[in-house]
């Protein structure tokens, strides 16, 4: 029997090392966490990433601008449209394009829908992490509604390639409005239902309240963004602080927590879904017929230069740094992935908590490994 090789020089047992992942069911993909355990307590945690490294950033340099969009679909594979939007905005900034209003409305509606879909997935797997098996099916059911809507608009359920440089691929299909409104009604009811199922559950509160509280200073220093940063009490949302597109035309709320514990991170996302729905409703009222593509050349050749664009993806501050040398292909694409930055804090959060908490904390970060490893 050689379960534990961690014997110190005097021959007594020291802490147990345990590999959580890359094949652990609750590491949300191929993430590996080496935990040093003293019984059930975590003494030290060492995150290992890179199991899903596909070289996306380098691949971008070999593709033309319009082809790069498909690579951005596959970064954050839960919120594809938000990824597409970030790259298209960067290319448009270099090209100095004026995007027609209708294209922006379509983009906003779809991106906010995608935010809801992503948060619904989070809701489901977070319940699963905490040990409840029902939320995951409720979450996936709602996500499915949104994805079938996406399928009608973009032709694909996940890898849409719909948001293009200069606009969007196609106009909304006929009858979209009615379908969207029925989906919105269903989502309104479903968010309430999901809320009732998990949010105030006594066992769920016990598992998430006051677990891994993150002070604002630490969150800022780690570069944590998105719902996790907002849960600490800082009012920071790219849609507000650096409004892009047409976000300054909507009235919506930003859910802000005050403790930064796991429950706050969870509930900020739940409230964000409600706010996204309100954005979609406002956008549907304001949208008018018109062009969906800017006037531009078919082959995209931005002038020499560089730019950095920030967007608010469901996971946080998604930035794209784009360098152009004037050719058909980008010279360099650097993605500032929110999951990657959020994951930095995990080592700090895991010190001194229980193994069971590690799962809940990792789940509350809502990482997507495609984006972390790129």
């Amino acid at each position: 029997m050689e379960i534990n090789k961690n014997v110190n020089e005097s021959g007594s047992m020291v802490d147990m090392l345990i590999n959580m992942g890359p094949q652990h069911p609750s590491t949300h993909g191929v993430f590996r966490l080496v935990l040093q355990l003293d019984g059930e307590l975590i003494v030290d945690a060492e995150p290992h990433i890179g199991y899903l490294h596909r070289g996306s950033e380098k691949l971008c340099e070999a593709e033309s601008y319009s082809q790069v969009v498909t690579l951005f679909d596959r970064l954050d594979y839960v919120a594809n449209l938000n990824g597409e939007l970030a790259f298209c905005m960067a290319a448009e900034k270099l090209l100095e394009l004026e995007i027609p209003d209708r294209a922006w409305y379509i983009r906003t509606i779809l991106c906010e829908l995608n935010r809801i879909a992503s948060h619904m997935l989070f809701y489901g797997v977070y319940g699963l992490d905490a040990g409840a098996m029902t939320p995951v099916l409720y979450g996936f059911r709602e996500r499915e509604r949104i994805q079938s809507l996406f399928e009608q608009v973009t032709g694909a359920r996940m890898m849409h390639n719909y948001i293009r440089i200069g606009g969007v691929k196609e106009d909304l299909p006929s009858g979209f409005e009615n379908k969207l409104y029925s989906v919105i009604d269903e989502l309104d009811a479903a968010i309430e239902e999901c809320d009732e199922l998990l949010t105030q559950n006594e066992a769920f509160l016990a598992r998430t309240k006051n677990v891994s509280r993150l002070p604002i200073e630490d969150a800022v220093n780690f570069g944590v963004t998105g719902p996790i940063l907002r849960s600490t009490g800082l009012i920071e949302d790219v849609r507000i602080s650096e409004p892009y597109g047409i976000y300054d035309r909507f009235d919506f709320g930003i859910p802000i927590g005050n403790t930064g514990d796991c429950w706050d991170r969870y509930y900020v996302r739940m409230q964000e879904m409600r706010e996204s729905l309100s954005i979609i409703k406002q956008a549907m009222k304001q949208i008018e017929p018109g062009e969906i593509q800017a006037k531009m050349r078919r082959i995209v050749r931005p002038p020499e230069g560089e730019c950095f664009v920030r967007t608010e993806s469901p996971r946080g501050d998604l930035g794209v740094f784009l360098v152009s040398d004037g050719s058909q292909n980008p010279y360099r694409v650097k993605v500032r992935a929110p999951s990657f930055a959020n994951l930095q804090a995990i080592k700090h959060m895991l010190e001194g908590v229980y193994v069971a908490d590690a799962v809940v904390i990792l789940g509350s970060l809502d990482i997507v490994l495609g984006e972390v490893d790129r």
Binding site: G127, G131, Y138, A203, V220, L234, G257, Y267, Y354
Partner: protein, 383 residues
């Protein structure tokens, strides 16, 4: 022991095992269908009408699968562990009666026997955890022990309360004692404690800590496959059925009807059916909890066990003794119990909500957020 007796016991034991195996197959189907209803899906639908033959397909699949032995496993312990879980699970059933006559062997110390035997299956969990030579199994096995010491005392205390009421440890006496009024009405505290401790004993949600899928990936059973895994699973369901049967016996009055309209053979037949209905009602309650609750942490279970269940079970015993000693009417015990339950729920609800706060999320309108001046946090200026 005469040879007739021997034949009776052997046939009885074989019959019991066959009955329990069939019950487990029914239970797996019910659990899957019932959870599926909760989760808005269909459950098994392909094998037979409404998936009725699914358990048989599962059994065939499990038996024909390869039994994998991890190369570092401690072989004897690894192979014996499923039996160490399975045998106590079956042994409990020796003394659980289905009707006044349908019982393998009624023991005068029946409850004591059950309390003693039910602990043994934890030994199997530890053996499986150690023998698998897997760190997750190890953690799971140790969790099972940690769980044991926190639920076992309230478990036994709840049994004791029932024994005090009926002045007997024999299950048949306990049921006959409840022919007028079921113990759940007399002693609601005992029922709740036994249910909670029973769930912990079974390792079912919200106390499925030792085989927590999202944490220790199935706990002691990670490395098992094929027939051995099937045996473990069989034991788990037999235990579930046993706890449900115990609840039915001790708190729901077993086979006693409110008033019995028949006599003779129809009486016995209906008794068995009535008893099974009660058991399945409890089982559905257990499955329902599984469909709705997340899992507690091990330290939370232990503090729940020691800080809530143990004191409350002592209060239960004191009240029961008080009522029995002064020969008071049973309704006094009911009232006392309900007051205790109410005050405990009040205390449990009050303390967390003060520290947790009602709802810590506020919603800042976008216009207000946009006009905020930058702030300095850490090393960075943030809007």
């Amino acid at each position: 022991m005469s040879w007739q007796n021997l034949v009776f016991y052997v046939l009885g034991a074989v019959g019991l095992i066959i009955f329990l195996s069939l019950t487990v197959m029914v239970l797996t189907w019910i659990e899957r269908k019932f959870l599926a209803r909760i989760q808005q899906r269909m459950g098994p639908m392909r094998v037979g009408p409404h998936g009725l033959l699914q358990p048989i397909a599962d059994v065939i699949k499990l038996i024909s699968k390869e039994d994998i032995l991890p190369s570092w496993a401690d072989k004897p312990i690894y192979w014996i562990a499923p039996l160490a879980i399975f045998v106590p699970a079956i042994a409990i059933w020796v003394t659980i009666p289905f009707s006044e006559t349908l019982v393998l062997q009624n023991l005068d110390l029946g409850l004591f026997y059950i309390a003693a035997i039910s602990v043994l299956s934890v030994l199997g969990l530890v053996m499986a955890g150690w023998g698998s030579a897997n760190k997750y199994s190890m953690l799971g096995g140790l969790r099972a022990v940690g769980q044991l010491i926190s639920y076992e005392i309230p478990f036994i205390m709840a049994i004791l309360g029932v024994a005090m009421l009926s002045q007997s440890l024999s299950l048949i006496d306990i049921i006959n004692d409840q022919s007028k009024i079921a113990n759940i009405i007399v002693q609601p505290i005992g029922f709740l404690i036994f249910l909670a401790a029973g769930l912990a004993e079974l390792g079912r949600t919200p106390f499925d800590i030792h085989h927590a899928e999202s944490e220790v990936v199935g706990g002691p059973f990670v490395e098992y496959s094929g027939a051995h895994w099937a045996i473990i699973q069989l034991a788990e369901y037999v235990n579930t059925f046993a706890i449900a049967a115990l609840i039915a016996v001790m708190f729901l009055g077993g086979w006693s009807w409110p008033s019995m309209p028949f006599s003779g053979i129809p009486h016995h037949l209906l008794s068995v059916i009535w008893f099974l209905i009660k058991i399945y009602a409890v089982i559905l309650l257990i499955f329902w909890i599984r469909g709705t609750y997340p899992r507690l942490r091990i330290d939370q279970l232990m503090s729940f066990g020691w800080k809530v269940l143990v004191p409350v079970s002592f209060i239960n015993i004191v009240f029961t003794g008080f009522v029995r000693f002064y020969n008071l009417h049973w309704s006094i015990l009911t009232v006392l119990s309900l007051i205790t339950i109410g005050s405990i729920f009040y205390l449990i609800y009050k303390t967390p909500q003060q520290s947790r706060g009602e709802n810590s999320i506020r919603i800042v309108p976008s216009k207000e957020a946009a006009s905020r001046p930058p702030e300095n946090y850490g090393d960075v200026n943030v809007r």
